[in-house]
Amino acid sequence: MSGPGSYFARHTHALFSSAGHLARAPIATTFTVVVMGLALALPLGLDVLVRNVRAATADFSGAVSISVFLKPGVAEARAAQLARSARERPGVAAVELITATQALAQFRAQSGFGAALDALDANPLPHALVVTPRPANSSPADMESLRRYLAAWPEVDAVQLDGDWVARFNALLALLRRALLVAAGFLALGVVAVVGNTIRLEIRNRRAEIEVTKLVGGTNGFVRRPFLYTGALYGLLGGLTAWLVVAVTLVLLGPTAARLAQSYGSPFVLAGPGARELGLLLGFGTLLGWIGSWLAAARHLARIEPGSG
């Protein structure tokens, strides 16, 4: 009698039956979905914020560089050779050679000590290399590795890592990302609890139906199925609501953010969650709804027996 066709039909029936139950109680369904949507919107909004900040600043990766001061007496030709060696290292985006002559000219132009410099017998400044890593190789660990590599050259007198503030900024972003994960974890628990409680009430309201179903031979799995679909639908709709909340917020903030960026000469515009994020959000919401309903159903359905009323 049973087969793959009836298996599919059973699940389709349970899905449509659950959707029907939700549609027949639009106010209660809306409240639950909105609560779930807001709970899911918070981590999604934080994620969008972090990604936009990273996009706007590009992690300030271009602002990170290493200044390599060569020992006095190193010839300019050797300095140029070292610059070529540095350029060949993986992870290095650019190397600029600032010769002692160029450095002195810059200093003369910028410091206002031109007359005093004329009094010097010889140029006291060394040749220097400004090494800029690729954005993907700008992590603190990569920078430290590059610093050690450069410092090990015998011609090098000193190596200076520029941009500690960038490291602090990135550390702040990392902290925000961690906070996002923690918040997402707690809010996920909240969503599970909301769905669990809603399903618990639903089970209580449908006690008579559950008793009759068990009376005619319905298994716990059969009775549980529509509640699982209900929970999953709550999660799916909650995820969709969260996406809408964030999308609307971005639409409202977009022009202001664009004007702010323009004032800094940046073409930056706020980016919303893409198709991948939407897919993840809907999947995650559905999973949370399923878990919440499963926990509630497993706990409360087993207690209901036709003779227990």
């Binding site: 008793e211 005619v216 031979g217």
Partner: protein
Amino acid sequence: MITFEGVAKRYRNGREALSNVNLHVAPGEMVFLTGRSGAGKSTVLKLIALLERPTRGQVSVGGENTGRLKARRVPAFRRRVGVVFQDHRLLIDRPVFDNVALPLIVADSSLKEIDKRVRAALDQVGLRGSERVLPAELSVGEQQRVGIARAIVSRPPILIADEPTGNLDPQLATEVMALFRRLNEVGVTVVVATHDLHLVRESGLRQLVIENGRIAGSEPAGALPVIEARR
């Protein structure tokens, strides 16, 4: 088919509903349980349908010792026992078709099979054409017949009914009882708990009289199961 050996049942509230009950219902027999309210008739039915388990003694239904039946096998057992209640226990927000189809749906029957059997069951109880009607739109007697259709739709070998005529006028009660007789005539074992001694006497079938949780008598004594009697 149904055997009680030294069966006692004490509920959680301490009330002893049955004590040392011994009875036997043969395959294909139709038997009445009579007695006052609270005598223990409903408890006997609940033990047969495995809605309760005995505190002492052994209940065997269709060769299964229900006291030892594992929880995961209970649903399959219940599918072999059709139950009719005085209060019908219908799903009020579902049409007649869905109510009657429920035992087939839980048994994973195909849609084609469900459609065929539900219409056949409704035909048997005289409700063909009421498939899309909600229970609230039916009379009490019709609701009772929907309950009976649900109990017989999966063709269980055993049918039990708890005061099935309690809410019906005499004519409807006679019709319902005639329906049970017809089911019994095709081999279904039927156990009916009732107050209606007139219907019992009119049937001429065996009745088990229950008083204070014990079998007080069997009338007519030594009556044969109807199938055997017809042979």
